[in-house]
Amino acid sequence: MTTYSLNINNQNIVVDVDPDTPMLWVLRDSLDMVGTKFGCGAGACGACTVHINGAAVRSCQLPVSAVGEANITTIEGLAYDATKLHPVQEAWLAHDVAQCGYCQPGQMMSAAALLSQNPNPSDADIDAFMQGNICRCGTYTRIREAIKTAAKA
């Protein structure tokens, strides 16, 4: 076990874990931050997507030892504050995107990362960026629409 000092959602958090532990399990098991989801453990479904310095990263593929001082944002830290959601979250509500909801934290983290680098994405841009995120319930048409709504916010 090794001690790491992490910047998660603008807070400094110290954890004591094996160096090869993926950030996903640091969040879920060590910190009980369960909004980031386990789907495949292979970087193939996107359910565990977090932001590392603003970029979408699959946390199941990111060992804690590689994080350093990077800023980690999880779904729990996506909202601007306790009263103001991120435009992506607002758009997800406006379009009632979710069915079971399990993949949606990862979908929203990917969508927010997309919009931060491409504020007005086309359908093709959305498809290209979002294809790493599986929605087993098949809410894709709503995800596309919600991203376009969030882009206008």
């Binding site: 874990v17 094996d18 989801k37 509500l93 979710a98 909801g101 979002m130 087993r136």
Partner: protein, 749 residues
């Protein structure tokens, strides 16, 4: 009357209730409510429980307890809408929580078969109406006026004399009144909530990433566990090296557990291919995953064995599981031979089908095939158990506690009533969580280590442990006379390990000479319900074949179906036809009109319609081919599911079902070599992704006077054949084998 105080908020209310607080006012949704003696003095101040479904706070907040588990079908919003309609509630006051598991108060706390809404519609309306009557009576008593003169709207009670009171103000007095023996339900024309669109009541929790799912359960002193099952169907544990793994960091114990007791009559849900698995118990999921990889196990071929099984209706039969390591190639060869020449059981015979085929001017016959499918719910199987000497608490995602309650009791040796369940939201179900062998496994693990334990499956475990959609081969034949009239129809249905068995579905009833035969190919690979069980492929075989038949007849595919339905309506063959020809035709006509089918010109449009789960659906798919793959421009879906409760939720559900249909037929496939699943994770098991999903899905509902029927399943089955028929138009190739991607890749090269 005893009413629960929830001074610690909603969660403690649920806990207290689930612990069996002896609630006096019983509301059995399947029967009339009971009125019981009550004592106003015992009433606490916070939540006033009017029945098993509804509680109201003095503030006016209305809480609806949703008795079936949620997995994305929207019950946490739909059920409150139904109760709130009859309650004349202000929708802004309404919240919902998952009800405790309590078979004495709720019937059939099980989500599956697309039946939750239809089954609970009358009871939820009664819950709202009786609660309203109690509120009105409380106001009438307070104001000393006849109850008939009390009006209610938007959570406010009023009297023409000028008196008004909120529901919150009358909740305490109402909660101790007797439940009326009879209540009037609203006229459908007066509905103001049912049949509108309401936002998902749990939407905000979902977008914030709140702890909602079974995998998010975190309880005090909880250990974690993983299991290791044999890498191939037909193998079992021989020996393993527990000691080296026990020395790894964070690992507490390694041992085997055995499923099921020898004398257990297995229930509908007791499906587990691997009767002995190795459990690893420890602190941290990642440490457990490393231990799992490090564990050295010797496997051996398991002998054939038998057990007694009881089906959903209680009919017992003996099941023999064959020995051996099976291959997909062998399964396919066996099923191909079966549909050609194998001995089959006749399930329906009308007229003289053999004579019709002998006298035919033309015979059209084609064979359709589909592989096994893994459900791949995005939340992997997991469950929590705390088994003590005299009681047990189980928490997790499953489609219904009743499915596993008795099995867990038999395994851990406790009376069933000492075992309590909590239902969490599920990260998808699709039928997979009807078979909660993992709940039994974690109970055994907890009992052994004497600690609360959360068992989690890796994706690889989830995908390779079984309970798949069966694999099918179906031969379809039709006899045409010289005028291209269908004079005979013949289905030969094979499946591993079970065949599609729908002898009384369309076009049965529309053709004079009809024969349905079927046969299963036994296997040790386990299967279970998969969204629209068996319908999910029968629709493909039937509706693709009808498209080929229409072409052979020189008929329009929709008009040809409508002509058959007209025959079934006016002069049906036989009496067991399980569909309503008029309702069936109505979805074909609605989809035809909404898609502008008759003016489709050169567009690559394909149509299919199907009836299952008491609902009718017609999908019309419009595609273009690009780089050898279909781009789905639009899907026009027409549905008759009776009364729609939440329009926006229903549209979302239908869209999801259609995307699922595209996904499973384009890409879904599980194959086996020497018993080993050939896909183990989502990197090679291909699921539909956003770039492959339809650009637009337009959903239309037939308006009629029927109550709600199924919606979670019916939109899916007609999607694959509509897509196949559209791809035929675009490519000239008939897509008879799923997944379609195999043929598409061949066509490309």
């Amino acid at each position: 009357m005893e009413i629960l105080k929830t001074s610690f908020g909603r969660r403690s209310f649920l806990k207290a209730s689930a612990a069996g607080g002896g609630l006096a006012l019983s509301f059995n949704l399947a029967t009339a409510p009971n009125a019981l003696a009550a004592d106003a003095k015992s009433a606490p101040s916070e939540w006033f429980e009017l029945n098993a479904v509804l509680s109201i706070q003095p503030s006016g907040a209305i809480q609806v307890r949703v008795q079936n588990p949620e997995f994305g079908q929207g019950l946490m919003t739909t059920f409150p809408m139904i109760a709130a309609e009859e309650l004349e509630a202000n929708w802004e006051d309404v919240t919902s929580v998952t009800a405790p598991y309590d078979q004495s108060r709720y019937k059939m706390q099980l989500s599956g078969g697309s039946w939750s809404t239809s089954m609970n519609y009358p009871g939820l309306r009664m819950a709202g109406a009786t609660a309203l009557h109690m509120l009105k009576t409380a106001a009438a008593n307070a104001w000393n006026v006849p109850v008939e003169d009390v009006n209610a709207a938007n959570s406010v009670l009023s009297h023409s004399g000028g008196k008004t009171a909120t529901y919150g103000e009358m909740a305490a007095a109402a909660a101790i009144l007797p439940v009326p023996e009879k209540v009037a339900l609203k006229d459908k024309k007066d509905f103001s909530i049912i049949g509108t669109s309401r936002k998902n009541l749990t939407g905000s929790q979902v977008v914030k990433g709140d702890s909602l799912f079974g995998i998010d359960v975190r309880e005090k002193d909880m250990l974690r566990a993983v299991v290791v099952h044999a890498p191939a169907f037909g193998l079992t544990v021989d020996s393993f090296d527990a000691e080296s793994v026990k020395r790894m960091p964070g690992i507490h114990d390694v041992f085997t557990i055995k499923m099921y007791p020898d004398d257990l009559v297995r229930g509908f849900s007791d499906v587990a291919a691997f009767r002995e698995v190795i459990a690893i118990v420890g602190d941290h999921t990642w440490q457990l995953m490393k231990a799992k990889k490090a564990l050295k196990v010797n496997w051996k071929v398991e002998d054939s064995y038998s057990f007694t099984s009881s089906d959903f209706f209680g009919n017992q039969n003996k099941v023999t599981v064959p020995k051996g390591l099976e291959d997909t190639a062998t399964h396919n060869a066996i099923m191909a031979a079966m549909v050609e020449t194998g001995e089959m059981e006749t399930k329906r015979k009308d007229g003289d089908p053999m004579a019709a085929f002998a006298n035919a001017a033309k015979v059209v016959e084609h064979t359709y095939h589909a592989p096994f499918l893994a459900h791949n719910t995005l939340e992997p199987m997991n469950f929590y158990a705390d088994v003590k000497e005299d009681s047990a608490m189980l928490i997790g995602p499953h489609q219904g506690p009743m499915l596993i309650h008795n099995t867990v009791a038999a395994h851990i040796g406790l009376p069933a009533e000492k075992i309590d369940f909590k239902m969490t939201r599920m990260g998808g179900g699709f039928g997979r969580r009807l078979y909660p062998h993992w709940a039994t496994e974690v109970s055994l693990i907890s009992q052994r280590v004497k600690r609360p334990v959360h068992l989690i499956y890796t994706r690889e475990d989830d995908m390779t442990v079984g309970v798949y959609r069966p694999s099918y081969t179906i031969k379809m034949r039709a006899a045409l006379d010289a005028n291209n009239k269908i004079i005979g129809y013949h289905v030969r249905s094979a499946g591993t390990p079970e065949a599609c068995s729908f002898p009384n579905r369309f076009p049965a009833g529309a053709i004079d000479n009809y024969l349905w035969e079927e046969s299963p190919n036994v296997s040790n690979i386990t299967v279970g319900a998969f969204r629209a069980p068996n319908s999910n492929f029968m629709a493909s075989a039937e509706q693709s074949f009808l498209d080929e038949l229409a072409e052979a007849m020189g008929a329009d595919p929709i008009q040809m179906r409508l002509d058959l339905l007209k025959r079934a309506q006016e002069n049906p063959v036989g009496t067991d036809n399980d569909y309503d020809a008029v309702r069936y035709a109505s979805v074909l006509e609605l989809a035809r009109d909404k898609s502008d089918w008759n003016n489709r010109g050169d567009k690559n449009m394909g149509v299919a319609a199907y009836f299952c789960h008491n609902s009718y659906c017609c999908n019309i798919v419009d595609i273009d081919m690009k780089n050898g793959l279909p781009v789905i421009n639009s899907v026009t879906s027409a549905l008759d599911c009776g009364q729609v409760v939440n329009y926006e939720g229903a549209i979302n559900m239908a869209q999801g079902g259609i995307v699922d249909g595209v996904g499973i037929s384009m890409f879904g496939e599980m194959t086996f070599v020497e018993g080993q699943p050939q896909h183990k994770n989502l990197d090679t098991y291909r699921m539909v992704r956003i770039n492959e999903s339809p650009r637009a899905i337009d959903v239309h509902f037939v308006k009629n006077e029927h109550g709600p029927t199924g919606l979670g399943e019916p939109p899916m089955p007609p999607t694959p054949p509509a897509l196949a028929n559209a791809m035929y138009k675009a490519t000239g190739h008939r897509f008879r084998n799923q997944p379609f991607i195999t043929d598409l890749e061949t066509l490309k090269s």
